[in-house]
């Protein structure tokens, strides 16, 4: 299809539309608002549902309602709004209905600011709300990748009857880049709607969608089923990109926009003689632990870089399990790390660990937030 110049938020909205979204419920919040604005005219033009809700709390519960009816429903927001959705997301997870959410992350905590950030890593990759579960979290690094990932979100959500979150920092939502749009997916037919869908009990017995299981054994059974589903997702859906890892002595690990910045860092570092590779997780959950673990063995050190104080860092440490030293460089508050800063941090890591034997310095895990 056509290649055009797209603003990130609008590209994500159009990709969701082409991916089949039938109902959008949202609330304005910077730096996500263009996504909602785009939906506000595009969805009615296509005869689909758009509604600006009174809050993010209401938005996610509208998504929950529509999704219970088997509709492809989504919302989008930014960090403080995602906090407000945690309750609804927990109910959606407990009810096994598919739903899609976009998080265009900004600086926190609290009201924070409207600058780009990756500080929602914890709140979207762990249980987004009370209970034991994980949504699938996809982290694009370019507008094109955001389009491609967004296009597949509904199929992924329906395949596992789970929540899928597309998470990008505010800069990706705001930047303009060329992107190619996928074709318009045909609408769901009645027969294709999930057999869980609540659409009136005509010609069948009634259906109930609930996350309430008063009997502890029943609730444990639900949890075991959820965990089995999460295990399947872990095995089947881990995605990542790696560059120049084959001969690398050091590894950069970064996601989203920072992952993209690190490609520049990698080129510069290689030209300086630092043999570094890049590992960029695309699924933040399931985190690509096994591959990172393989790569960690034999590396002199890993440098994790994020736009937060070290959140994915914890998953990297869990993956590496002491196989090599893990260092950290992060910027917070909406500050974007520049290639030169990361390069300097990498040069420092290379200097410190230039003679380190593999896997020896188990206790050497330091962190740095400038």
């Amino acid at each position: 299809m056509s290649r055009g110049l797209w603003k990130g938020n609008e590209a994500i909205a159009e990709a969701a539309i082409r991916g089949g979204v039938e109902a959008f419920f949202g609330y304005p919040i910077t730096p996500q608002t263009e996504l909602l604005e785009y939906m506000s005219w595009r969805m009615p033009n296509l005869g689909r549902t758009f509604l600006q809700a009174e809050s993010e709390v209401a938005s996610i519960n509208m998504v929950y309602g529509a999704a219970c009816g088997g509709a492809r429903a989504m919302s989008s927001s930014s960090s403080p709004g995602i906090s407000l959705m945690q309750e609804g997301l927990s109910y959606i997870a407990g009810s096994d209905v598919p739903a899609v959410l976009v998080d265009i992350m900004r600086g926190g905590p609290g009201l924070g600011n409207i600058q780009p950030s990756q500080s929602d890593y914890f709140q979207i990759t762990r249980s987004t709300g009370h209970g034991d579960f994980h949504p699938i979290v996809l982290a694009p690094s370019t507008v094109q990748e955001a389009v491609d990932l967004m296009y597949g979100t509904f199929l992924l959500a329906e395949k596992y009857r789970t929540i899928v979150i597309l998470a990008a920092d505010g800069s990706l939502g705001q930047m303009m880049e060329p992107a190619e749009m996928p074709p318009m997916r045909p609408p769901l037919t009645e027969a294709e709607r999930g057999d869980f869908a609540v659409r009136g009990a005509a010609g069948r017995s009634k259906r109930i969608i609930t996350s309430l299981f008063l009997n502890e054994n029943e609730l444990e059974a639900l949890n075991l089923r959820l965990q089995a589903k999460l295990k399947t997702i872990q095995e089947a859906e881990r995605r990542w990109e790696e560059i120049d890892t084959a001969d690398a002595e050091y590894l950069l690990v970064a996601f989203g926009t920072v992952g993209r910045t690190c490609k520049t860092v990698l080129r510069e570092a290689r030209s300086m003689g630092i043999k570094v590779g890049l590992f960029r997780p695309i699924t933040l959950w399931p985190f690509p632990w096994p591959r990172l673990r393989e790569l960690a063995a034999g590396k002199r050190a890993i440098l994790v870089t994020e736009m937060n104080a070290g959140q994915m860092l914890e998953d990297v440490r869990l993956a590496v399990e002491g196989r090599c030293p893990v260092e950290f460089y992060g910027r917070t508050g909406g500050v974007m790390p520049l290639p030169d800063e990361i390069l300097e941090a990498l040069a420092g890591v290379a200097h410190t660990h230039r003679s380190a034997a593999n896997g020896v310095e188990l206790s050497h895990v330091s962190g740095g937030v400038r």
């Binding site: 039938e22 509604l51 809700a53 709390v57 209401a58 938005s59 929950y64 009136g200 259906r207 109930i208």
Partner: protein
Amino acid sequence: MSAVIGISEEMIVEQGNVMYKRPDALSDAFTHYCPGCTHGIIHRLIAEAIDELGIKDKTILVAPVGCSVLMYHYLDVDAVEAAHGRAPAMATGLKRTQPDKVVFTYQGDGDLAAIGTAEIFHAANRGENICVFFINNAVYGMTSGQMAPTTLPGQVTTSSPQGRDVKLHGYPIRMAEVIAGLPGTAYVVRRSVYDARTIRQAKKAVVMAFKTQLAGLGLSMIEFLSSCPTNWHMSPPDALTWIRDTMVPYYPLGDFKVTDEMKALEG
């Protein structure tokens, strides 16, 4: 149940003696409600109205958090379970994507008049084409009798042991009057079920509420004054009397919003 005393339902039907039976839309299930609680009566009125209007196959219940949390077991219609207070938002999502269905919420006073005020207020203001059945029993029933937003001044509860002091806790909210003030609503009334007369009036209102939605006229809400003998520490008959003598003076029964289109439907 009649099989227990040796008379099957079929035998009664054969003899043509059926005066009163379980509506189709009411499940053949034991409820967990306390003796004397009027949830059961209101459930039945809703089921009777669903039967009369022939909408059982296209009705979706949005169940609440509170004493009626298990309501989906008692009505034989498709159902979802909302988070506390969020039923109108969930109903909005369901109705906007399935406008040909009949969607209703059933909510208690803590649910609708405290934690879910934003959701009911805006669903009503948007004129969502849904029915809201609001059960006001002046107390949090399921958590065992704490002060509700509708608890009367001076009323003793487990969280207002000295009685509700309006200077400390504010005033009980007359939700029917508040919601009726929003232009998006088409039919907002207050009813009770403390005797045969009020039950008949309530039944008519439930039918009207569903008719409002079927005609696409906007949000309808019935506030029911309902009893809670257990947490009021009263016998069931005394609880019914308390509704009449103590609740009704503060929460007058009546019609607070009946639009002209609704009057035409009624006529």
